[in-house]
Symmetry: C2
Subunit: 357 residues, 2 copies
């Protein structure tokens, strides 16, 4: 296993965690506010911070975290630099979108192999940041002991939209993963919730960079080889790093779950109960807003609601007046108006407006 | 009764009916499309014609009708002249809004006293124009025989938003009115519908101009006197006539129903089944649209509807996308967006946007 020796080990002994923030995904289900040129991570969907900015800031305590490394497509580099906190943030510019496994491997190949990396999506919301950093510390301890660690989000409802993690034997700071479970139907999701041994796979991972590359070499050797080649042939440009486009584009994309986590013998999880939401659609955003405000509505000042319950209004300008609505979400953005029942929120991404941008 | 002799009787023998079109009313329940400076009558709410234009054209057959006389406030004179058919339309410019009785009396005082006048609101929809003109002819015959005639709209539902007319003994072309009934509660409205002897009072009237003034002099002498004085002191300006403002403004306003129709001994009605709607709110407009198109939606081309039933969308530009809605009306106009359940449509006029124009 030569990979882990290619790098110097200058921070080997530190307990510092290296945040790796993934800026993929189009967020079409949050159309019309999320648009191709300014997608979900770069919008202040909750409060005044963008989701990307929040992702940076929740892993910014210098006692625990190194400066973040961001993996993103070229279209969003300017947004990232504009929204990044004043820190030593660096960017890996993906020449093509090839899912999470190659993106994470790019970062792993740019970090000291003995460093602990914390992989986070840039478009999730985490209400309890102290719980997040505590879980990260637990996961880092397990990762240092040689495991690939997933955050297991404690479920609070029988969600059918996420994959689940079944925990196995206990470790000091978490659990071995018994198995990964694909998105279940409602009956199974209810059984998982009742069982208590299942958690959501939120796409947050902690591992030693070198181990991730070793396991990728084992389970997806061609992918690992192409990633390393694209890094070897890549070029620096200030804080940006450009992997070689030809090598990278040839990769057959896959998720880190399929490529590594479901194949490794070393999968572990840490339970995380931290007010997490993937803000997967407008209904999820409404839930996240309501959980924080304890209110029924997310209404800017230029709205009027009469006889409304569980109505969320998001407008970039026009006044919105609503009467007699329940479980309805209204979004006014630019030249588009979206009105959807909560139950239809998952279909937003398939609308003409969202898919023909 | 000197009033009826003040005028020449040049068209006494003709069967011509004189349309008098009233352009009062603010139409706030059709906000945000209906605005103070361009209210309901001047909007093409159904098809491409404005309601005012349709009101002119449905009474435009020269074999049956004289050129229309319009009674309107000064704010809307330009709209009226812009939208009027090329005909001999004349306008009486009301110096102040004093409800329907003074407005109708102004017109009566400007028409030959033996002429038959047909008073029509300018903001209603009538699907079956042949039924309308037939009813007008029947009403004119009864009016010539000395009665004040109301159109009695055949009800098709237990509507609680309209006044009712109870018919009495039959006449050759209609019925004597037994009594007028204020807006009923639902139980009474259902009983009226089951009874069959009740019709809606749609605010459409036919009478001999001189008789209207005579009866107004009898039941509201001060009003009649002030109207005649304001006409006597008024001034012509091309096709516009300006009654004297001081005399007219001093009038205590009242509806033609209260001032005359409910007091006269000569009230009659003609049944009218003509696809009438007062387009009283967005739900009424949706009903009128659906009755004509047999469809569920009134959707311009820049809309997309997924899993929607009975959704009406009216937009002046922005695309509107809707998912999973039922019985919802969406109106986008200028800088305002309205989303209301059908059941809340009557509350639109009370919204901040509608009432603070």
């Amino acid at each position: 296993m030569p990979i882990q020796w290619r790098y110097s080990c200058d921070i080997m002994s530190a307990n510092i965690i290296h945040p790796v923030i993934l800026c993929g995904g189009s967020g079409t289900r949050l159309w019309p506010k999320s648009r191709k040129d300014k997608p979900k991570p770069f919008l202040p969907l909750l409060g005044t911070r963008t989701l990307f900015r929040a992702a940076c800031e929740r892993a910014s305590d210098p006692a625990q975290f190194a400066a973040p490394m961001v993996v993103a497509g070229p279209a969003h580099v300017d947004l990232i630099e504009a929204q990044a906190p004043a820190s030593g943030l660096s960017i890996i510019v993906e020449p093509a979108a090839r899912n999470t496994a190659p993106a994470i491997a790019l970062a792993a190949a740019r970090i000291d192999p003995d460093a602990i990396m914390l992989v986070c999506p840039s478009d999730h919301h985490i209400a309890d940041e102290a719980a997040f950093t505590a879980a990260a510390a637990s996961a880092a301890a397990i990762a240092r002991a040689g495991r690939l660690v997933a955050f297991g989000i404690t479920p609070d409802r029988p969600e059918t939209g996420y994959g689940y993690i079944k925990r196995g034997e206990a470790l000091e700071n978490g659990f071995v993963i018994e198995r990964f479970v694909e998105k279940p139907d409602l009956a199974r999701a209810k059984a998982f919730l009742a069982d208590g041994g299942y958690a959501w796979n939120g796409g947050i991972f902690v591992f030693r960079a070198g181990q991730l590359l070793e396991e990728l070499s084992e389970h997806r050797p061609a992918m690992a080889e192409a990633v390393l080649a694209s890094v070897a042939k890549g070029r620096e440009e200030g804080t940006r790093f450009h992997p070689d486009a030809e090598e990278f584009a040839a990769i057959e994309g896959d998720s880190i779950d399929y490529a590594v986590m479901e194949n490794t013998q070393n999968a572990a999880m840490v339970p995380a109960s931290m007010g997490w939401s993937d803000i997967g659609d407008w209904a999820a955003l409404q839930d996240a807003v309501n959980a924080e405000t304890d209110g029924n509505n997310h209404a800017p000042e230029n709205t009027e609601l009469v006889d409304c319950r569980k109505v969320m209004i998001v407008s970039d300008g026009p006044r919105v007046s609503a009467i007699g609505l329940e479980d309805i979400i209204i979004v006014v953005h630019g030249d588009e108006v979206l009105v959807t029942h909560r139950s239809g929120a998952q279909k937003v991404g398939k609308l003409d407006g969202a898919s023909n941008q």
